[in-house]
Symmetry: C2
Subunit: 471 residues, 2 copies
């Protein structure tokens, strides 16, 4: 039978498969479309500002294109009017900081390069029609080499990379055009004025229509990172010393949140670079110390590395060799109480910090919690010092002891974060508040932290729930 059917299959095979493929095509297409639609919706829901930004780009381009369509406006600029539209496409970015950075870079670089390019052309034209290309090419070569190399300087790369590119571009354009274009000065002027119009239109739309301040995002993100560590530490105690095997779903998500902190460095650096372009806005004054956010961010990451070490003890990773992942119930029962307290007080200290930092107030309440956690650590120490352990197997004590020692390290990290936050608070003139936060108010602060955390795009809340005693 097999020998008979196989040729049939062979001959029918490709056709059948082809038919099946054709039949499945509409389904596949439908699936793909649904998938894309689902992703698009999610992208919009995650941050509705993305939709607003897309509409803003459309609006700005349409506005600037009026220069091209209306004759009176067109006559002023001529064919260069198109440059205004192109400038909008290139300059209008998601955040005000990025748009301002690009816009200023583009305007300044064009102005300087147009002037230098014109000078280079005039200088070169002294050597006659034949010598001019050689001289201009030499100038262009030297400028290209120097500008390109300058883009490798870290400081230049961080803030003026785009400007350097536009400088080289405009310099080439203006100095070379002089060879074939008699009205060079007019052309340079047109180019600059259209870029001015395009950049200004981008800036106006970017700032006036639902502005996205990257500085505000940075501020929230640094606070959210601190809160993520707090969430882990809050859930850690219960999770590590849990009696049953069942785990709270809520805890699970809390326990994983900190992982994004580990790799947040480059996005924070980008945000700081953009935020430095932004003018004072809302609670962030002129010359807000954006660079100091990097220090707080670095210390938060250092703390996150310790949290990562704690996380190992939850995940049974070292079971295979040492026959343990968690200390047996008998051992862990003894140190459970102080360990949980250290973890919880650390969590409270971080939550306090995240909450007051977000609201831009300076309190000493985090310090209180740090002191409490130190006391609990001292208890843990004396507990470990007692001879309760004599009968126990050392191998069984190690995990619990390691957890205790990592927790103690975390206290040190949190102290450093607290100092850095205070330093930043002083430099940014946060309001000072006496640490007279009543317990029920503290609760409301904590609740707010969690709420804001789930909705990262929330508007900065006005601090209404702490008693302000301005000094």
């Amino acid at each position: 039978m097999e020998a008979v059917t196989s040729p049939q299959q062979e001959s029918n095979g490709p056709i059948t498969r082809g038919c099946q493929w054709l039949k499945s095509l509409p389904n596949k297409f439908c699936d793909k479309t649904t998938e894309i639609a689902r992703r698009t919706k999610k992208l919009g829901q995650d941050d509705p500002r993305r939709i607003v930004h897309s509409l803003k780009v459309g609006l700005a381009i349409t506005l600037v294109s009026l220069f091209y369509y209306f004759k009176p406006l067109y006559d002023g600029f001529g064919n260069s009017a198109m440059w205004a539209v192109l400038t909008v496409v290139v300059v209008l970015e998601f955040s005000v900081g990025a748009t301002l950075g690009k816009g200023l870079n583009r305007m300044l670089a064009t102005l300087v390069a147009a002037a230098l390019g014109f000078g280079a052309h005039r200088l070169a034209s002294l050597s006659g029609r034949k010598g001019e290309p050689v001289l201009v090419a030499t100038f262009v070569f030297i400028t290209a080499v120097i500008t390109t190399f300058m883009r490798f300087f870290p400081k230049v790369k961080a803030r003026y990379d785009y400007g350097m590119m536009i400088f080289l571009l405009t310099f080439c354009l203006v100095s070379m055009s002089g060879y074939r274009d008699d009205q060079l000065l007019e052309m340079a002027h047109e180019r600059f004025s259209t870029i001015l119009v395009g950049s200004c239109a981008s800036l106006i739309v970017c700032i006036c229509v639902c502005p996205v301040w990257i500085g505000e995002d940075l501020h929230k993100s640094v606070a959210a990172n601190i809160a993520k560590l707090a969430n882990f530490l809050e859930a850690f105690g219960d999770e590590y010393f849990k009696v049953s095997e069942e785990s709270n779903e809520n805890n699970k998500s809390y326990l994983q949140g900190y992982r994004t902190v580990l790799t947040s460095k480059s996005s924070e650096e980008t945000m700081v670079n953009f935020a430095r372009w932004e003018p004072g806005h809302g609670p962030f004054g002129y010359r807000h110390p954006w660079k100091m956010y990097l220090k707080v961010g670095n210390l938060t990451r250092d703390c996150a590395y310790k949290v990562e070490a704690l996380n190992t003890y939850l995940n049974c990773k070292i079971q295979m060799l040492f026959d343990f992942s968690k200390a047996p119930a008998e051992i862990s029962g003894k140190i459970q109480e102080p360990c949980k307290r250290v973890s919880l007080e650390c969590s409270l200290a971080l939550k306090e910090m995240a909450s007051t930092f977000r609201k831009m107030v300076l309190t000493r309440s985090a310090v209180m919690h740090i002191e409490n956690s130190k006391k609990a650590a001292e208890e843990l120490r004396s507990l470990l010092k007692t001879n309760l352990w004599e009968e126990a197997d050392l191998l069984e004590i190690i995990p619990a002891a390691s957890v205790a020692s990592v927790l103690v390290e975390i206290i040190g990290c949190i102290e450093k974060i607290s100092e850095a936050v205070n330093e930043l608070g002083k430099a940014a003139s946060f309001r000072k508040i006496n640490a007279t936060v009543l317990p029920e108010q503290q609760d409301s602060i904590q609740q707010e932290t969690v709420q804001q955390d789930s909705n990262n795009t929330a508007i900065l809340p006005v601090p209404h729930c702490v008693i302000i005693v301005a000094e």
Copy 2:
């Protein structure tokens, strides 16, 4: 006296200070210039390819500017010839991958957008001179909104962000120009062909003159990161159990090298995105599994987090509360030998991996070292299980026990890295080599690893020092 001198000082003060400032100006200027010169020199010395790249940009621009200067070439392109120069400025990047990505994005986006823009213009022109601007503006608005939103998709952002921008730019340019320019088709054609010339010139210069393959950089960087962890673990044993307070300077630099691994994620992702644009080159074939480098990189970072935990025990950070940073000599003496061995075998395993990975060969020698380290860990375990510890204070044991437990975790991490490297090696068809590396040859491999590490730009060495037994 004081009352008499103070008005004098006041009146002389500003002038004197002004003079001093003026006098110090040349000095300051000199200092600044020297400082910039020093930095420039360092930037060039750190990676001489930067100087070469700058010269390449100059060369490419000068080459393309010939199109503008020579009449026969100019007549073909007209005034648009300038676009070729601008394209070179924008497209020519440091690495082949980045240049190819930008060049292909620019060419493809221009082609599609020019066609669509022309279609939009023809469609709009059907509605007469008055209706056309309204219709074109509507098309432009819709295109701008959709294109801008698409740039938020992570996959699009990673590979086609530049293309989306150029698409929108060209679409605006072509569809709108139709209103004032009669020779639209010619203009669209000129724009596309000049961009083609500019992109091709960039690519030719980029690939033919000292090409910088970002894939090769990525390959070396992943290997170097593994080697950095190996260096830490090699130095750790001696540093932690050292008798005297004096520390080897060489060890110090080894101990800090791993810190750059912690924050290498975003640069690795960028490199992978660029590397995927590159064609096969040298030992990296067509469709080299660049994405799998991300997995190896992530596992290396996970291991680096553990190494960071180990580093804490070197740095006396937790002394303040637990009265220890290191176990007392008596305790540490007992576990010194197996701990050092685990650390050293881990280091050897990582070095093997780094070296064979760099040379693109598959061996089982790293597995041997992992097995050795597991044996040492087992010894450590039985040592900790014995009752040698009964008389000791638990507090004194904790740091040593914690170090031991972290070392055991590191073995697990290294096993995972080894698996990922093997998986990558199979996918990328690394050559297979039997694990018959003789001791003296092993030494030479290790020495090479260190040499290559200090000179990150070294050319990929030919594997000449291992016995190849092709399977």
